[in-house]
């Protein structure tokens, strides 16, 4: 697995917030947001909701019988002449890839974008074997050259300006400086075309895997997915175990939800369907096909009724674009492969809550993520659950915090009766006087300073709601009971 930097949330978020280039890049997320809105309007709101509902039903059915559908998938991939490997964790998956690469004497691997392969950290493993892994999605290629992690699920190099890309190409590829984005893409096309033609193994992800036919489905725009699954002699596809869908025609439900939510596209330039290796009568295609089905913490989410729904995710990235926190702190603050709201749910489940406990708190719980989610995943509810896990810890492990429990006891006392509550309000209105500026309390004494260090607290009004309500002279209505 790639290095886990989830403990550095605050410094890395601060760094992004203070970096004007990154803020400018994050402002471009509005393109994704607008694209999605326009695209759904074109599709028709009612039809969209029907698709969403249908997709949720299919995911529900598939996950409730995940053992059955994965068994069916693997049987059908094998019937089509492919090999299936079930991997508990990233290491098992990497070892399998390494074994296949060794057996075929592989020197160059072309990769098309896959979040699961990021999760595995396969590129480092291949490099350690003196095999060259080449990312071929333009965004992934850029961050591979920069030795960075993806910034966004569908736009890995979102944070890079064209100047930075030009500097990177100049330094590593030795190409002249270029300010034109078309020319920069042209450089990547030339360099990567060579790699495509010489590669002896291709690795892809799978946006969907169809149980009934044993087909993996790749959704791409650049054509690198087609190259990676067609040119080299060996094709290895990796998928998280929740990617399986029952039948081919289910794609007509999922595909528009994915592409329209992600970039606002009606459909991507390419949707590729690979079932096993090259057929005997085919002109070209890989001689061998391997499918790696990865657990890597997913069974823990499956076992938790409160987190199971996170496995509905189709990785469209809409929740990242909608999130006011992601839109400011960017992808690297989240410290691992999956950023944004869905990352804040998935990452703690995979790397463990003790190292990733900041992530569920990196949210305002505003609900925008759920609102845009094509599968209507209740991310805020899961973040609350994870917050509770992070604070309480596994049963009996929580260290009591005396100050906190004293404050909580005081709070309980204050809010448990109207008389004390209104008295507390009056007292606070007087006590706050030296601390208040305009409508806010900017600095409170310890331990309350923990709050005001990062947030303002609204002033207690001298005329609280109770007295205003009474002054409105509407007699309280008595219920006849």
């Amino acid at each position: 697995m790639p290095s886990i930097r989830t403990k550095e949330f605050t410094p890395r978020a601060t760094e992004a917030i203070n970096n004007p280039t990154i803020q400018q890049s994050l402002d471009r997320l509005s393109n994704f947001r607008q694209g999605r809105v326009d695209s759904i309007a074109e599709f028709g709101q009612k039809r969209w909701e029907e698709h969403s509902k249908r997709a949720q039903e299919i995911k529900y059915e598939t996950l409730e019988h995940l053992d059955y559908y994965l068994d069916m998938l693997s049987t059908n991939v094998e019937r089509a002449g492919g090999t299936v490997f079930f991997a508990h964790d990233a290491k098992e998956a990497n070892d399998y890839v390494a074994g296949v690469a060794r057996a075929h004497g592989v020197k160059t691997v072309i990769k098309s974008k896959s979040m699961v392969s990021e999760e595995m950290g396969i590129a480092d493993v291949l490099e350690s074997m003196v095999i060259e892994p080449v990312e071929t999605d333009l965004g992934e290629y850029i961050i591979q050259l920069a030795k960075e992690a993806p910034y966004h699920i569908i736009a890995p190099a979102l944070h890079k300006s064209k100047e930075e890309v030009s500097e990177l190409f100049e330094r590593i590829l030795g190409t002249p400086a270029e300010s034109d984005i078309i020319a920069l893409a042209g450089v990547a096309r030339r360099v990567l075309r060579e790699k495509f033609l010489q590669a002896d193994m291709g690795m892809t992800g799978a946006n969907f895997a169809v149980a009934e036919t044993g087909t993996i489905v790749m959704v791409t725009n650049e054509g690198n997915g087609r190259m990676s699954s067609s040119l080299p002699k060996v094709h290895i596809a990796t998928m998280g175990m929740e990617r399986v869908i029952p039948k081919l025609s289910d794609l007509s439900t999922f595909l528009p939800l994915l592409t329209r939510s992600a970039t606002g596209q009606r459909i991507t330039s390419y949707v590729s369907f690979a079932t096993g290796p090259r057929r005997r009568d085919e002109e070209d295609g890989p001689d061998s096909f391997h499918l790696i089905i990865l657990d890597n913490g997913r069974s823990k989410m499956l076992a938790d009724p409160q987190l199971r729904e996170a496995l509905y995710c189709i990785r469209c990235g809409a929740c990242l674009n909608a999130c006011p926190v992601y839109s400011k702190v960017g992808g690297h603050a989240y410290g691992w492969v999956y950023p944004g709201p869905i990352g804040a749910v998935v990452t703690p489940s995979i790397v463990g809550i003790p190292v990733a406990k900041d992530l569920p708190f990196a949210s305002t719980l505003c609900g925008a993520c759920r609102e845009v989610c094509p599968l209507n995943i209740d991310i805020p509810r899961m973040l609350l659950k994870l917050r509770s896990d992070a604070t309480e810890g596994p049963k009996g492990t929580r260290k009591p915090n005396r100050v906190e429990s004293m404050m909580m006891r005081g709070w309980r006392l204050t809010v448990s009766g109207p008389k004390i509550f209104s008295l507390a309000g009056k007292v606070a209105a007087i006590l706050q006087w030296p601390l208040s500026r305009n409508r806010f309390l900017r600095r409170l004494p310890p331990p309350l300073s923990a709050w005001t260090r990062t947030r303002d607290f609204p002033k207690v009004d001298a005329k609280p709601f109770h007295s205003r309500w009474a002054a409105m002279a509407i007699p309280p209505q008595k219920k006849d009971d």
Binding site: L66, M72, L197, E212, P246, L251, S252, L255, D295, A303
Partner: protein, 246 residues
């Protein structure tokens, strides 16, 4: 090392832990539960339903092809289609063309027509010889244009489906910078759902379980640098759709 059984056992344990009491007792969501005969029947019904919709589908396809950045040309006959393909090639100053053996392409007799213009047009196939994918890659990578047929065309999204078969290399529509897809009005369906229904029915009748298919819905593109769209990254940057109506 995880065996399949160990892996599935973990999943079963996880499901038992939080088994939803409302879950269906047995998995039911497969097309085979509807029976193969039903699939074939549904496909036949669908084909029938599409016939009276032809005009509307053509109008829809024209619109979506524009949105998806296809350069679309509607022609009445195979002769006109051949002229259209040759015009595109000469307009681009193409020297080398590769094509597939798809019936829609074979009908155009392109080889001779191009020969007359001193343009080389070759079938991208190993023929009777031992298949040699590396050799085909080399030829396709040198070509200026790839001409292919299509299996179906989706009107709603202007998506051409291409199933790879004997005489129909995966490379022809992928490696050259320009792709010309030749299609017939009979191949037009309305939606992705239609296409997948027809494909599911076809698969039932195929002896081999492995297959490779692409939906092509416009040129290769990226927006990975500053969200600026660039056309033509790894695949063709220029795509033409020649639709024969007669």
């Amino acid at each position: 090392m995880a065996t399949k059984e160990e892996f599935l056992a973990i999943i079963r344990a996880a499901l038992a832990n939080g088994r939803n009491p409302d879950a269906a007792p047995t998995p039911a969501h497969t097309s085979s539960t509807q029976g193969q005969g039903d699939l074939a029947q549904r496909a036949a019904n669908l084909r029938e339903d599409l016939v009276p919709k032809k005009d509307a589908l053509l109008a829809q396809l024209k619109k979506s092809a524009g949105l998806q950045e296809w350069k679309m040309l509607v022609v009445a006959s195979h002769t006109e289609a051949r002229d259209a393909v040759i015009n595109i090639a000469t307009g681009l100053n193409a020297q080398r063309i590769v094509r597939t053996a798809h019936l829609a392409v074979e009908r155009l007799d392109l080889d001779e027509a191009f020969w007359a213009k001193s343009i080389e047009c070759v079938l991208l196939a190993s023929g009777a010889q031992q298949p040699d994918p590396a050799h085909l890659q080399e030829i396709a990578a040198q070509a200026d244009i790839g001409v292919t047929g299509v299996d179906y065309l989706i009107a709603e999204t202007a998506s051409a489906s291409l199933v790879s078969r004997e005489g129909m290399s995966r490379m022809a529509s992928l490696l050259p910078p320009v792709h010309i897809a030749v299609a017939h009005m009979d191949q037009v369906v309305e939606s992705l759902e239609d296409l997948l229904t027809l494909r599911e029915a076809e698969l039932g009748g195929e002896s081999s379980r492995n297959w490779y298919m692409n939906l092509v819905s416009g040129p290769s593109k990226t927006a990975d640098i500053e969200q600026t769209i660039v056309i033509g990254v790894h695949g063709p940057g220029e795509v033409h759709l020649v639709l024969v109506t007669g």
